[in-house]
C-alpha cells in the first residue's frame, strides 16, 4: 500500500515526536513507530533533564558546557555542545509550558537536583519519572496538533531513487502487510541499542534498527565504539536505578563495607561521571570485593530517611522490592553496571541532517535525532540528563531543518519495485528451514558482547568477539521460525531485530579494536591512557563488500582545550 506525506518520522520517542511538532507546520507529517508512542523507551528515563536554569544556586550555560565537554573526555564537538546547553533553559521552559509536570521548589519553580558529572544542581525532574512525564506530554501535544500516527508499524528499509531517499518501507505488524511511505523528508529517531548486551537497562525494542537500516543503505555510522555502562543497574536484571538516587545522596558500598569511590574519584565520590563510576564498580567486583565476593555491590539509600526516599524516588522503591526483593528503606540495594546508552550513531550536522561521509557531505531529505543520532554532543561519555535534552533540542532542530529544506526538495515518485526486495527478504526469513534457534543466537551474541566488548576491552577479547559475530552470522542463516503467519508475528520482528544487532555490533567491536587508547566509556586494558595526538578523532564506519572500514574526522574544538580528566 502506498502513502504520501511531506515528512515521515520513524520513531515516537521524545526526539521523533518533538521533530513532528515542528515538521507538521510545513506540510503533512506522520510518525511510524513499532511500539505505541507512549511505550517508547524515553518513558523509562528516571533521573532528569539538564539545563542551567539556576533554580538551585548559581549556574550558567558555560559551566554546563564545560561539564559536558569534560564528561565527554573531550571527544564532543564543542560547537554542537554549545548549541545544546544554550538552548537548554529555553527548551525546559517550553516543555513546562506544554504541560510537563515537573517537581517544584517550595516557591513554585522547577526543582533541580545534583547529577553525576554536573558540578551544579541542574537536573530538572519529576520525581523519578522524568522521561515518563516528558514522553506523555509530547504525545499529548501531538494529539493536540493532530499528528498522524502509525503505531505498530515496523520500518524495514529506505526507499531510494536516483541516489536520494524518497521514503521508507514498513511492515504493519497487525496484518503483516507491507506499506510504502513516500516522503520528501525522512527523519530517523529510532533510539538506542542496549539490547546488544546481556545486562542492559534498555527495553526489548531498543535494537538499533535505524542504525542498521541506514548502514545497509550505504551510510556511515559514527563513534560506534562508545557504549555507556550505567553504574547502577539492579542485580541481576540490569534494570536501572537512576543516578538521581546518588544525586539525592546515596552511597555505593563494596563487600568490605567501604565507600570505595574515595579511591577513584575523591572529589566527586559517587557523583563522578558514569564511565569512571562503572569502571570503579567493575574493578571492585573483578578484584573480589563484591558483596560476599559476588558480581554486585550495594547502593545504600537508608541514611536519606524514608520521607525523602518516598518523595523523590518512589519508583525505585517499588522496583527494588519487585525486582530484587529488597526494601530499600531498610536494606541496601544490590547493583551492578548495566549497558545503557549509545554515544555513537547516525552522524548528523548541528541541524539533524544526516552526513554522507566523514568529510561532512549532507544527504538530501534525510535527518536523524535522539539517541540513534550522533551530533556529537556526548563524545566518549554522556553525562546523565544530557540525553533527554539532546533528544528534545536536536529533535526540534531536525524538525526545523525539515521545515527550512522542504521547499527545495522535489516531490518524487516511488520506484515501482520499492517493496519487492523487502518482500523477498521477508519470505526468505519466514520460509527458511534450519535447526538454529533465534533466542539462542541472540543470547550468545549478548553474552559475548558483555564479556568481550563491555566495560573493559582488550585486543584479544575484541578479536574473539569479532570472530564470534562471524560465526553467529552463519548461524543466523539457519534460523527456523515457528511462526510463519502474517498476523502479529512478533517472532519475525525479533528475527529482524536480531539481524540489526548483528549488523552494528560488528561496528562496535571493529571500532573498539581499531581505537588503541582509553577514552571515556571506551577502556582498553592494553592501552590504558588517552592518546590525543592520535585519537582525538571521530570514527566513521562504513560498509564495504570486504566488511566495515573506518574513516576518521577531527573533533571540533572551540572553547576548551583537552586536559587531563580528574574528578
Amino acid at each position: 500500500m502506498l502513502h504520501r506525506y511531506d515528512t515521515v518520522i520513524v520513531g515516537a520517542g521524545l526526539a521523533g515526536m518533538r521533530a513532528a511538532l515542528e515538521a507538521k507546520k510545513g506540510g503533512s507529517c506522520c510518525i511510524l513507530t513499532k511500539v505505541f508512542p507512549t511505550r517508547s523507551h524515553s518513558g523509562a528515563a528516571q533521573g532528569g533533564i539538564a539545563a542551567a536554569l539556576g533554580n538551585a544556586g548559581e549556574d550558567d550555560w558555560t559551566l554546563h558546557m564545560f561539564d559536558t565537554v569534560k564528561g565527554s573526555d573531550y571527544l564532543a564537538d564543542q560547537d554542537a555542545v554549545e548549541i545544546l546547553v544554550r538552548e537548554a533553559p529555553g527548551t525546559i521552559i517550553e516543555l513546562e509550558h506544554m504541560g510537563v509536570p515537573f517537581s517544584r521548589t517550595p516557591d513554585g519553580r522547577i526543582a533541580q537536583r545534583e547529577f553525576g558529572g554536573h558540578l551544579r544542581q541542574r537536573a530538572c525532574y519529576a520525581a523519578d519519572l522524568t522521561g515518563h512525564v516528558l514522553l506523555h506530554t509530547l504525545y499529548e501535544q501531538c494529539l493536540k496538533e493532530a499528528v498522524t500516527f502509525y503505531p505498530e508499524y515496523h520500518v524495514l528499509s529506505l526507499v531510494i531513487a536516483e541516489g536520494a531517499c524518497r521514503g521508507v518501507v514498513a511492515l504493519e505488524i497487525l496484518t503483516g502487510e507491507l506499506h510504502t511511505f513516500l516522503a520528501r523528508a525522512v527523519v530517523f529517531a529510532t533510539g538506542g541499542y542496549g539490547r546488544a548486551f546481556k545486562i542492559t537497562s534498555n527495553a526489548h525494542a531498543n535494537s538499533g534498527d535505524g542504525l542498521s537500516i541506514l548502514y545497509r543503505a550505504g551510510l556511515p555510522l559514527e563513534d560506534m565504539e562508545f557504549v555507556q555502562f550505567h553504574p547502577t543497574g539492579f542485580y541481576p536484571s540490569g534494570i536501572l536505578v537512576t543516578e538521581g538516587a546518588r544525586g539525592e545522596g546515596a552511597y555505593i558500598i563494596n563487600g568490605q563495607g567501604e565507600r570505595f569511590m574515595k579511591r577513584y574519584a575523591p572529589d566527586r565520590m559517587e557523583l563522578a561521571p558514569r564511565d569512571v563510576t562503572s569502571r570503579a564498580i567493575q574493578t571492585e567486583i573483578d578484584q573480589g570485593r563484591g558483596i560476599n565476593g559476588g558480581a554486585y555491590v550495594h547502593l545504600d539509600l537508608r541514611h536519606l530517611g524514608p520521607d525523602k526516599i518516598m518523595k523523590s524516588l518512589p519508583q525505585i522503591l517499588d522496583l527494588a522490592m519487585r525486582f530484587t526483593g529488597v526494601d530499600a528503606l531498610k536494606e541496601p540495594i544490590p547493583i551492578q553496571p548495566t549497558a545503557h546508552y549509545s554515544m555513537g550513531g547516525i552522524p548528523t550536522d548541528n541541524n539533524g541532517r544526516v552526513l554522507l561521509n566523514h568529510a561532512g557531505a549532507v544527504a538530501q531529505g534525510l535527518y536523524a535525532c535522539g539517541e540513534c543520532a550522533c551530533v556529537s554532543v556526548h563524545g566518549a561519555n554522556r553525562l546523565g540528563c544530557n540525553s533527554l535534552l539532546d533528544a528534545v533540542v536536536f529533535g526540534t532542530r531536525a524538525g526545523r531543518a525539515v521545515l527550512a529544506d522542504l521547499p527545495a526538495i522535489p516531490r518524487g515518485d516511488a520506484p515501482p519495485d520499492s517493496e519487492d526486495a523487502v518482500r523477498k527478504e521477508l519470505r526468505l526469513l519466514l520460509d527458511r528451514e534450519g535447526n538454529e534457534s533465534l533466542a539462542a543466537i541472540r543470547d550468545d551474541l549478548q553474552t559475548g558482547m558483555q564479556k568481550n566488548c563491555g566495560i573493559f576491552r582488550s585486543d584479544s577479547l575484541l578479536r574473539a568477539q569479532l570472530a564470534a559475530i562471524g560465526t553467529l552470522r552463519g548461524r543466523f542463516e539457519r534460523v527456523r521460525l515457528h511462526d510463519r503467519g502474517a498476523r502479529f508475528n512478533t517472532e519475525l520482528m525479533e528475527l529482524i531485530e536480531l539481524r540489526s544487532l548483528l549488523d552494528f555490533t560488528e561496528l562496535i567491536v571493529r571500532g573498539a579494536l581499531l581505537r588503541t587508547e582509553s577514552r571515556g566509556a571506551h577502556s582498553r586494558t592494553d592501552h590504558p591512557t588517552r592518546d590525543d595526538a592520535r585519537w582525538l578523532t571521530h570514527s566513521f564506519a562504513r560498509h564495504t563488500p570486504e566488511g566495515p572500514v573506518c574513516d576518521y574526522a577531527p573533533v571540533r574544538i572551540t572553547r576548551y582545550e583537552p586536559k587531563e580528566r580528574k574528578y
Binding site: 511500539v35 523509562a44 530484587t324
Partner: protein, 238 residues
C-alpha cells in the same frame, strides 16, 4: 540467586483468528528460578518452546505499559510480577478482558486510545505564558501526582464491567487523564474538558464498582479521581 523454584505449569490462552476456529488453552512446563517474572517465563516459552506465542512487551521495568495481561484472574503487568509471589504451581494467563482479541495475549486497544484522546489530554492556556516557567506550588503539584503516573497499560478500563458492556464509556483511564488536567493548577481548559466528561458515557456511567482501583498495577486510584470529577461536574449543572 540461582536457586530454583521448581517446575511451574503455565496455562495460556491461545487464539489466532487466521488459523484457529476457536480459542484454546496451551500448557507449558517451565523451570522457574528465583527472581524470574511472568514476562521472563513468557520469553522463555517463546524462545525455546513455542515461537508462535504472541504478547506485547518492551521496557520490562513496569513503565511502558505494554505487557498488561490477566494473570490468575487479576490484571497486572507481566514484567513486574515475580512468579514466587503467586500461590500454586499453575499459572493461568489470559488477555486483558474487554478488548477485541488480535492474537493470543495481544488485544486491540484502539478504542482505549481513542477515549484517552477524547478528553483533550493537553494543557490549555488562554492567557500568555511568561518567559519563565508557570509557577506551581508543591501542594498543587501533589494533587495530580498519582494521575500523572498513569502508564496507559489499560488494566483499569479492562476490569470495568461498565466498559465491557458499553465500550463507548470513556473508562477509568481516560477519566483519570481528564482529572490530571482539570486539577492541574496551570490549566485553563477546565470548562471544555468538564463538558466532555459530564456525559452519559463519561463520569455518570461509573457505578463505583472499584475494580479499577484494584486492577491498577501502579496502585493509582482512578476511582477517587472519578469521584472528584463527579463533584466538579455537578457543580457545573447546578
Amino acid at each position: 540467586m540461582a536457586d530454583t523454584l521448581g517446575l511451574y505449569t503455565f496455562k495460556i490462552f491461545r487464539y489466532n483468528p487466521d488459523k484457529d476456529p476457536k480459542s484454546r488453552y496451551d500448557t507449558f512446563a517451565v523451570e522457574v528460578r528465583q527472581g524470574m517474572t511472568i514476562l521472563d517465563c513468557l520469553q522463555k516459552i517463546k524462545g525455546s518452546l513455542d515461537g508462535t506465542l504472541s504478547f506485547r512487551r518492551s521496557c520490562r521495568s513496569a513503565i511502558c505499559g505494554s505487557c498488561a495481561m490477566n494473570i490468575n484472574g487479576k490484571n497486572d503487568l507481566a514484567c513486574h510480577l515475580q512468579v514466587s509471589r503467586l500461590r500454586g504451581r499453575t499459572i493461568t494467563i489470559n488477555p486483558l478482558p474487554g478488548y477485541p482479541l488480535i492474537k493470543d495475549l495481544v488485544v486491540d486497544m484502539g478504542e482505549f486510545y481513542r477515549h484517552i484522546a477524547a478528553v483533550m489530554p493537553w494543557l490549555v492556556r488562554r492567557s500568555p505564558c511568561p518567559d519563565r516557567e508557570l509557577l506551581q506550588f508543591p501542594a498543587d503539584r501533589d494533587r495530580i501526582d498519582s494521575a500523572v503516573n498513569c502508564i496507559l497499560c489499560g488494566s483499569c478500563t479492562s476490569s470495568c464491567p461498565q466498559f465491557w458492556f458499553n465500550p463507548r464509556y470513556l473508562g477509568p483511564a481516560a477519566l483519570l487523564k481528564a482529572y490530571r488536567f482539570i486539577f492541574d493548577s496551570r490549566d485553563e481548559g477546565r470548562d471544555e474538558r468538564l463538558a466532555i466528561v459530564d456525559d452519559r458515557y463519561g463520569v455518570w456511567r461509573c457505578r463505583t464498582v472499584f475494580n479499577c482501583d484494584e486492577a491498577c498495577p501502579k496502585k493509582l486510584h482512578p476511582n477517587e479521581a472519578i469521584a472528584g470529577l463527579k463533584i466538579e461536574a455537578l457543580k457545573r449543572s447546578v
